[in-house]
Point group: C2
Chain length 405, copies 2
């Protein structure tokens, strides 16, 4: 029998490690003949664009390189499967691809949209009497999937963000005049990544002095009051803010300006708060957007994250071989110190289209900080460094097959 | 006798390594009693805000930690010394501080503004018959100082930029639809840092497909033509652009929009080009600004850069002890392969207020790329990795003395 793997959603530093996990386990499993990869997520299965992974991952060094290469080697998609009733043809095409290539197991690495695909596809296959197993492997830097303790990809993103925020703290505090630095961090609805900057306290940093999440209640007036209070205590105030922080005024602001092309300005919340500080306080102020670097800076990935991502990939294949389908693999935390997790599984329908928000009890009563209680949760996830392969002073990346560039 | 060190201008990853170089050489020199640090550049000398570095750098571990801590441990300033005739009092204050603390040597680590201070101060001291020696140590991520082959701080910035651009290349190429990614890199007048992304070719990357510098001649029309041509060849086009690229239209654009506070929008060139692509081509497009991370991401600093920064600091003190004054230390490249530099010196007046632009002969005739001839210049500067000290999964930084926070 053969298996098929696909990757979906936004890139992370760990999604290729999960691919390697499934691939390695496939090589070790006697009854598996070939491990195929689907190009651009489920689209490859629909369009019969698949390739034999052995033709591109040829050595142990390739596997190690792929583990530490960011983004999705097989490409990705934002495609959500329509309901069967809406578009039965799409399901039939997938089944045809599976049948043509003798695929018995399909492993889908992705976020909550991808878990929706796992649910729909596994239900369809059952309904037509197919024995093909569908298993989901979680990934997202947002850490917002229910049931699982955390998601592969998050730990590396959190490590990059914390290390970078620490460097920006150094950078921002060199001049003798007071200043405010606003750092905008990814997270539209869930503030996990922004909240994780609290780990800097473990190394003695006082900043970020303020942390705002989509889950905090927030007004521009309170933000200015908070900032003024911190400025009374610190010369260089550093503020971490989620891109999705709920700012009624920011929405107004974004629709206010029109550029020379006649387009509306869609300025981020960091830029908005920079201008608010300039207007209401008038001090030196700068905003910094960590942008896509948050999800692709594998040169400072978390070893814990990469190792776990590979491990959960292996377990996904085992679960499928054990006969499970329509499930997502997940981590259950056994202990913070020493850190220990087990890998279990849950019905993918418990995850599909759901979001796990940052717990209210870890937000300070003033709604502008994360409490110390969150630190033991985050800290284990950013531990350890991967021995990055270097050439010419630069990390080496696994190069995708030519037909995909 | 005693010596005084100060740091000035924009932070880099290497400016503390130069401080360590001077400090270590001071410890080793029999005739030197104390090594003082001036707080916030020349301001500390004016205001008699100086501290004995032995009171804060206490161990070998402290020195190693400081070497790998970004930004300026002693703070910085943007203060340019006025001419003596304009403000003799300022010069007299500095001399008073020097006399009070028995300072015989002042080492100023900074860019072309700081070299102006070296020139003015050394001339003043000679004119009043003082024997105090003033030596400049170069630093800037812009690499735009004349005479010296390159500047400490540049290699680390170039290593961060190239590694990050490579990661953004991976990130940008996952979807099946065509896309353009514009990466805005620091450099107002000199494009060295943006140009240095050509080193990725040494590792087999084709991107950045287009590189635009302040030194290239450039029109928005040509940019769109260039981009369309690259889109015909590559699914995901990645473009590196200096913040200072000369765009008459961009200036118009920046003054066009007004926000809800009534302020003009000062959008960067990356954002401008993003909107231009959206308007004229209409494909998926994103801009990314590498912002202050370019100058402070010491977690991926260049070992060559950090080692050279320390070495040039040591040499600066030796030059002062040899009786030189009004000089800036500089690198002379002996060979690209194997890489070899000697440390020499030049009159600081040859550097003060001057800029060294990226050579026209390394810009492609089409004005949209850097030629392969530039690669051997850049490559040695980003070689080697510093063994970064980690604690709790994060780099450890040297913490500034409490009175400076």
């Amino acid at each position: 029998m053969n298996i098929l793997i696909a990757q979906s959603g936004g890139p992370t530093c760990a999604i290729n490690a999960s691919l390697v996990g499934v691939f390695k386990q496939g090589l070790l499993t006697e009854e598996i003949d070939a491990v195929f990869g689907s190009i651009n997520g489920i689209e490859g299965a629909v369009n019969d664009e698949i390739l034999n992974l052995k033709s591109i991952i040829k050595t142990n060094e390739d596997m190690e390189l792929l583990r530490q290469t960011p983004s999705t080697m097989l490409g990705s998609c934002r495609c959500k499967l329509p309901d069967y009733e809406e578009n039965p043809e799409m399901y039939e095409k997938i089944l045809k691809t599976f049948t043509t290539h003798r695929i018995n197991i399909f492993i889908y690495i992705g976020g909550n949209d991808s878990m929706d695909t796992v649910v729909k596809l596994s239900s369809y296959l059952k309904s037509v009497g197919s024995d093909i197993k569908i298993i989901g492997v979680p990934k997202t830097i947002d850490n917002d999937l229910p049931v699982t303790d955390h998601t592969p990809g998050f730990g590396s993103a959190a490590k990059y963000v914390a290390a970078t925020v620490q460097e920006i703290i150094r950078d921002s505090s060199v001049y003798s005049i007071p200043s405010v630095t606003v750092i905008e961090i990814m997270g539209r609805h869930a503030g996990w990544l922004t909240a994780s900057t609290c780990v800097l306290r473990a190394n003695g940093e006082e900043a970020p002095h303020l942390i705002y999440l989509p889950e905090s209640s927030f007004t521009p007036e309170q933000f200015i009051e908070d900032t003024k209070k911190e400025m009374a205590k610190h010369k260089a105030v550093v503020i971490a803010v989620s891109e999705g922080v709920s700012l009624q005024d920011a929405a107004d602001f974004q629709s206010g300006a029109v550029d020379n092309f006649g387009h509306k300005y869609l300025s981020g919340v960091g830029k908005y708060l920079e201008r608010l500080v300039a207007d209401k306080i008038g001090c030196k102020v700068r905003s910094v957007e960590l942008n896509v670097m948050q999800r692709c800076s594998s040169h400072i990935c978390s070893k814990t994250d990469i190792d776990e991502a590979e491990r959960i990939g292996r377990h996904a294949l085992k679960a499928a071989l054990d006969g499970f389908t329509g499930k997502m693999m997940c981590f259950r935390r056994v202990s913070d110190t020493p850190y220990a997790v087990t890998i279990e599984m849950t019905d993918a329908c418990r995850v599909a289209n759901q979001e796990k928000l940052f717990p209210k009890e870890w937000i300070s009563p003033e709604q502008n900080q994360v409490t110390d209680a969150a630190i033991p949760y985050f800290l284990p996830l950013i531990q350890g460094e991967v021995n990055i392969m270097m050439k010419n002073g630069l990390p080496v990346h696994f190069q995708r097959p030519l037909q995909m560039r």
